[in-house]
């Protein structure tokens, strides 16, 4: 061995400075990006709207169609429509038979949820100009709706306070450092824990004590409770189903597969019929509870499939590295596989969440439960409002859109926030 040539040893490389911000030196060609704003705007318009005579024609056509639609909408909203059907029935639409003297429970719940959204945004993301604009528009819309005519003036104040809670939560967490540290870990744990506790807390607030019970859930409040219960319940059912379907034990994997395929084989409408008739004989219970069970069971089958897809997408090396470190199967699943699989499956799960959100209206159709759309039906069945059904349904559609839009925005943020540590 002695006469063999030695391997050259490397020189110790200097360590890069720990942490500290590094100065970024722009290469010279970046100067072009600093042309005056107006020039850049003109450039953008030319390139994106009028690139050629054919493009110009299409732009003009699109502008014409959009203009017509906008004119029609404006004419309807501000001149043609009679919004009294909404303002007159706003409590009916919002909470229906929820006892008025217990309304504080609703406002506290909304404030809690808004506060948590603020905390979460401050912890993992940030509010941009568009978010503030969205809050301003939606908040203005809601407050105008409440304050109009003066009868619900206090409700608009409560809503303002809830929005304030959101910004308070945001300001509380946004200032804290983002870099990995024990303080950051604590913050993430606390906010994450609060998010997990949010649904139980809200349910407790809405359903326990005083003059309220499961039957008090009515109107928009019912949609707002049904959907999260279905989504959270669906995820809780979906995780073990996905793991079970991937199990090597055939009895387990076949059972899980059967559940998933049977549930996905029929529409939610059909399962709500089951809740109405069959579940009545088996578990009984209030119709709302049965609806919640069906929603969770139904969503669970879809969530399971998304999670299973993510499990399969994980490289084998992740399982093997866990094995090589000595983790047992339960630890591998809990610490390595599931956290990654859940992250991967967030986008399809949000899609499912939005879909179940809209499907909460089905409980009116099948079960005689009075959610937002059902109460809109009752509003227009009042004699003086029968001509105003378009107004009522447009309103319902806008409300549903606002919530669905928020869900999709938040999920985009979640995806972006987890960019670090991906790939």
């Amino acid at each position: 061995m002695s006469e063999l040539p030695p391997i050259p040893r490397p020189e110790q490389q200097p360590l890069p400075p720990a942490g500290g911000p590094r100065r970024i030196v722009l290469p010279p060609h970046r100067e072009r990006a600093r042309r005056p704003r107006s020039v850049r705007a003109r450039e953008w318009v030319r390139r994106n709207l009028f690139p050629s005579w054919r493009g110009t024609l299409l732009t003009a056509l699109a502008a014409g169609v959009l203009g017509l639609i906008a004119a029609g909408v404006i004419a309807f909203v501000f001149f043609g429509a009679n919004w009294e059907v909404i303002t007159h029935n706003r409590w009916l639409l919002f909470a229906g038979g929820f006892p008025r003297e217990e309304a504080w429970r609703l406002w506290v719940s909304i404030a809690v949820v808004f506060g948590l959204i603020g905390l979460a945004y401050g912890t993992w993301s940030s509010l941009g100009r568009r978010d503030h604009l969205f809050v301003l528009l939606v908040g203005g819309f809601v407050i105008f709706l409440m304050a109009h005519g003066g009868a619900e003036i206090w409700s608009s104040v409560y809503f303002l306070i809830a929005v304030g809670c959101m910004y308070l939560g945001y300001l509380l967490t946004y200032q804290l450092p983002r870099a990995t540290s024990s303080l950051r870990t604590l913050q993430v744990r606390v906010v994450g824990g609060l998010l997990i506790l949010a649904l139980p807390i809200v349910l407790l607030l809405l359903l326990v004590g005083g003059d309220v019970g499961i039957r008090s859930l009515d109107g928009f409040v019912l949609n707002l409770v049904l959907a999260p219960v279905g989504i959270v319940g669906g995820i809780l059912i979906g995780i073990p189903l996905a793991v079970g379907r991937a199990s090597s034990l055939k009895s387990i994997s076949w059972t899980c597969t059967a559940y998933i395929e049977i549930v996905r084989g029929a529409p939610l409408l059909g399962w709500l019929f089951v809740a109405l008739f069959i579940l009545d004989d088996i578990i009984g219970g209030d119709l709302i509870i049965r609806a919640m069970v069906v929603m969770a069971v139904f969503t669970g089958a879809y969530m399971a499939e998304y999670i299973r897809g993510a499990l399969q997408a994980l490289p084998r090396g992740q399982y093997e590295a866990g094995q090589a470190v000595g983790l047992n199967q339960w630890q591998r699943t809990r610490l390595i596989i599931m956290p990654q699989a859940l992250r991967i499956s967030i986008p399809p799960m949000v899609g499912q969440a939005i879909s179940i959100w809209k499907d909460t209206t089905l409980v009116t159709v099948i079960l005689p439960l009075r959610e937002l759309k059902g109460n809109a039906d009752s509003a227009i069945s009042q004699f003086e409002f029968t001509p105003d059904r378009i107004e009522a349904y447009v309103f319902v559609a806008v409300i549903f859109w606002i919530v669905a839009f928020m869900m999709s925005r938040i999920s985009q943020r979640v995806e972006r926030a987890q960019g670090v540590g991906e790939r």
Binding site: T180, G317, A321, V325, Q331, Q340, G421, E422, R423
Partner: protein, 283 residues
């Protein structure tokens, strides 16, 4: 970890004597070719007549190879010759179909607890690093000690920092794997394996996925580890490393162990035609 060691000890007692007997009549070890520093070392890894089948494809064919404590063995061979399969059998990422594998006196068999005991004694470094992308570098390293060995968090973190120091990247502790270069990731992977305080380290082509300028930083860490007295099995095509660091080279072809000997033997007068052909292609 008394609760984890006790079943292993029981197996060790039953396997120990047999293992000793087996070594004596081992056909392929040529004592005159072993480094003198290992002359009196005990057998750390005993593999006898190991077969492995994937369906009706035989990936390992009657492999017999005993490795001494503190020995550095480099496995060579063309792609598909069963090198990975062999070392993956050693920590039971693959189950062998016939023959015997005894690691540090513990026989690998159906016993799950023996397997767990082995896995916490055998560290493995993969070609693709396989770091946990959702955990920080520090958490990647502390995960095993905390969850398997039940080391308290602070202690595990102190150990992890020591190891990062040892592989030369303590300043990266709070980053995520995706933020590191390939060479840094592989060094974290080595630190992660070392955190379990293994007696044996397996390396499966640890530098094959690296850009050329990063290969050396990983090989240096491995060489330092070898000099510290670790028992190591390294699958690699880095002939410089094999020549400088290995006590013994082993050549695999078509699932079989074709030839073994000191680096000197391999680079001056290899015996088998297949070895000569392979070396002529790779050197």
């Amino acid at each position: 970890m008394p609760d984890e060691r006790s079943p292993a000890d029981i197996i060790a007692e039953s396997a120990g004597p047999k293992a000793a007997v087996a070594t004596d009549r081992s056909p392929s070890a040529e004592p005159d070719e072993l480094s003198p520093r290992l002359a009196n070392a005990r057998d750390m890894i005993v593999t006898e007549h190991v077969d492995k089948w994937f369906g009706d494809f035989q990936a390992l064919d009657d492999v017999t190879l005993n490795i001494k404590e503190e020995e550095i063995v480099v496995i060579l061979g063309p792609s598909g010759s069963g090198k990975s399969t062999y070392i993956r059998c050693l920590n039971r990422l693959e189950e062998h179909d016939a023959g015997r594998i005894v690691i540090d006196g513990i026989e690998l068999n159906e016993d799950v607890r023996a397997m767990q005991a082995i896995r916490s004694e055998v560290g493995m470094v993969f070609q693709q690093f396989n770091l946990f992308p959702h955990l920080s570098v520090l958490s990647n390293i502390t995960l095993g000690p905390q969850k398997v060995r039940h080391v308290p968090k602070l202690e595990a973190e102190a150990l992890a920092m020591q190891l990062l120091e040892r592989v030369g990247i303590p300043e990266q502790a709070d980053k995520f794997p995706a933020q590191l270069s390939g060479g840094q990731q592989q060094r974290v992977a080595i630190a992660r394996a070392l955190a379990m305080q293994p007696k044996i380290m397996l390396f499966d082509e640890p530098t094959s996925a690296l850009d050329p300028e990063m290969i050396k930083e990983v090989l240096d860490v491995m060489q330092e580890l070898a000099e510290s007295g670790m028992t190591m099995i390294v699958v690699t095509h880095e002939m410089g490393f094999a020549r400088e660091v290995a006590d013994r080279l082993v050549f695999f072809d078509e699932g079989a162990l074709v030839e073994q000997g000191t680096p000197e033997h391999f680079f001056t007068n290899p015996r088998e035609e297949r070895t000569k052909l392979f070396l002529s292609q790779i050197l």
